[in-house]
């Protein structure tokens, strides 16, 4: 089974790219899909209806969605194996941009929208720098010069990244992405799959909904005003 992890800011076109991948491979391969989102997601139902493939979603609620993704990944791999999938696609929620859900033994795809402003790649960091492929969507909507500058800025963050430009709704230019997926090796040892980088997940008592102020009321990584760096306070 091959593993593909798709990340990117909201509305960049992650699902449009996912849809093109499924459309391209569904005739020859069995595909399973997992969507991780915060409060609501519809992609799993849409894709199940459209392509009759096994899909699942998980809501992270008060937890960081990328943290949730990391927690559930081993379970999800077992589920996709049970479904006898050839390709397993995990689509992240795409929220804080600093996060980077990519793991080893997978293809990490970051989906970026060309209309999001030419400096937006510079604001994202690991979400781009740890990905294998950057799919830049909506390139049909922007001028040639903005397209070129957007590309340069993406390269600035990740010099070796493979860039694919597309109008993802039409699927133009995606043949390079499909070729990369064709050449992607299968997962060799699922248990050893690990994160490529350390994402700033910030999972703490505030993230999970505790509203009290002051470090005395919190656990995990805490900080005092004076004379201390980050401290860990156990439960």
């Amino acid at each position: 089974m091959k593993l593909i992890i798709i990340a990117g800011p909201p509305s960049a076109g992650k699902t449009a790219v996912t849809r093109q991948i499924i459309r391209h491979f569904s005739k020859t391969k069995k595909i399973a899909f997992l969507k991780i989102d915060v409060v609501r997601a519809f992609e799993d139902e849409e894709l199940r209806q459209e392509f009759s493939i096994p899909t699942k979603k998980i809501y992270s609620g008060d937890l960081c969605p990328d943290h949730t993704g990391i927690m559930v990944l081993q379970d999800a791999l077992s589920w996709a194996e049970e479904e006898e999938s050839d390709i397993f696609i995990v689509e992240s929620a795409g929220l804080c941009l600093r996060c980077s859900p990519y793991v080893t033994q997978s293809l990490g795809i970051v989906v970026l929208s060309a209309v999001s402003g030419m400096n937006s790649p510079l604001k994202m960091g690991p979400m781009i720098s740890l990905a294998d492929v950057a799919v830049i969507t909506k390139t049909d909507l922007v001028s040639q010069s903005e397209k070129e500058v957007f590309r340069e800025k993406t390269k600035e963050v990740a010099p070796a990244i493979d860039i694919v430009e597309t109008n993802a709704v039409q699927g133009t230019g995606l043949r390079y992405l499909m070729r990369t997926i064709d050449e992607l090796p299968e997962i060799s040892d699922p248990k050893s799959i690990s994160l490529r980088g350390v994402p700033p997940l910030g999972v703490c008592t505030i993230c999970v909904g505790k509203r009290e102020t002051g470090w005395q009321n919190h656990f995990g990584v805490i900080r005092k005003l004076d004379h201390a760096d980050d401290l860990f306070r156990g439960d």
């Binding site: 209309v115 402003g117 030419m118 049909d140 909507l141 922007v142 001028s143 040639q144 010069s145 903005e146 397209k147 070129e148 500058v149 590309r151 340069e152 860039i163 694919v164 430009e165 039409q170 133009t172 230019g173 043949r175 390079y176």
Partner: protein, 260 residues
């Protein structure tokens, strides 16, 4: 990639929406060629230029193949926009950057690593040949009109991108001087393909591809037989342009000023 290294772009036929093969052997585009693509909405005009833009290799819905100098083009050529010999400008294409014209062009010049110091004023000067509303270096991109934006993008594609082939998808609605655009493209030995519903643009082109059901139905070579009509349409167009300018200037059009 400089424009002189592209000798020709060849399109090999695919099929229409019903799977019928297209009615041509090959379409060859050489520097300086002007081609217009005509046909009803949904007949496959935009799909045709999209095939060229991505150098289709039988991997699009139409099954066409696009070659450069007779061969399958190298990946870099297609994937790196700064090496790509094609600029596509559509009705949807916008400049979203909130900066001045000068800064915007400077950014593109920097991305292209071009060293010519005069290229920015030259580009603005060329853009001003395509539009009646003057563009100044200090204008904000977001404040430009549709016609000014389109003019700037065409000038940018010609000079800064230095693209040998320019694809223009229904740009006639944007109010640019189409005849001047075609003249300049010819002078500079650029090839251009227009997707168009505009009679003047169609008549100014050397070749017309007629689309039907997603395929090329036929190719027309006017070879001078349309000159009379072309001149007439040119005069009508110029007349309308002048009326438009007078209306803009706040005149009441009580005097004829027609025909040109």
């Amino acid at each position: 990639m400089s424009s002189c290294t592209i000798r020709e772009i060849t399109i090999l036929p695919g099929h229409d929406k019903h799977g019928n093969p297209e009615a041509f052997d090959r379409i060859v585009i050489r520097p300086g060629d002007t081609i217009s693509i005509v046909g009803p909405t949904g007949s496959g005009k935009t799909a045709f230029i999209n095939d060229i833009e991505i150098f289709a290799q039988k991997d699009t819905a139409t099954g066409r193949t696009v070659l450069v100098n007779g061969d399958v083009p190298e990946d870099d050529f297609i994937r790196d926009p700064s090496k790509k010999p094609i600029a596509l400008i559509t009705q949807n294409t916008k400049c979203l950057a909130d900066m001045t014209v000068e800064t915007f062009l400077a950014m593109h010049v920097k991305a292209r690593k071009i060293a010519a110091p005069d290229i920015i004023p030259e580009t603005i000067e060329l853009a001003n040949q395509f539009t009646g509303e003057q563009i100044f270096p200090g204008c904000r991109i977001t404040a430009l009109s549709g016609g000014q934006t389109r003019s700037l993008m065409v000038a940018d594609a010609i000079l800064i991108s230095n693209a040998p082939l320019i694809l223009l998808d229904e740009v006639e609605n944007a109010g640019i001087f189409r005849e001047r655009v075609i003249e300049v493209l010819k002078e500079r030995c650029k090839s251009v393909i227009f997707v168009t519903h505009d009679p003047l643009v169609s008549l100014l082109s050397d070749r017309r591809l007629v689309m039907k059901h997603g395929g090329v139905e036929k190719i027309l070579y006017p070879e001078g037989r349309e000159t009379r009509i072309r001149d007439m349409v040119g005069r009508i167009d110029l007349t309308l342009c002048r009326f438009r300018e007078r209306i803009r200037a706040g005149e009441l059009l009580t005097e004829q000023g027609f025909p040109v």
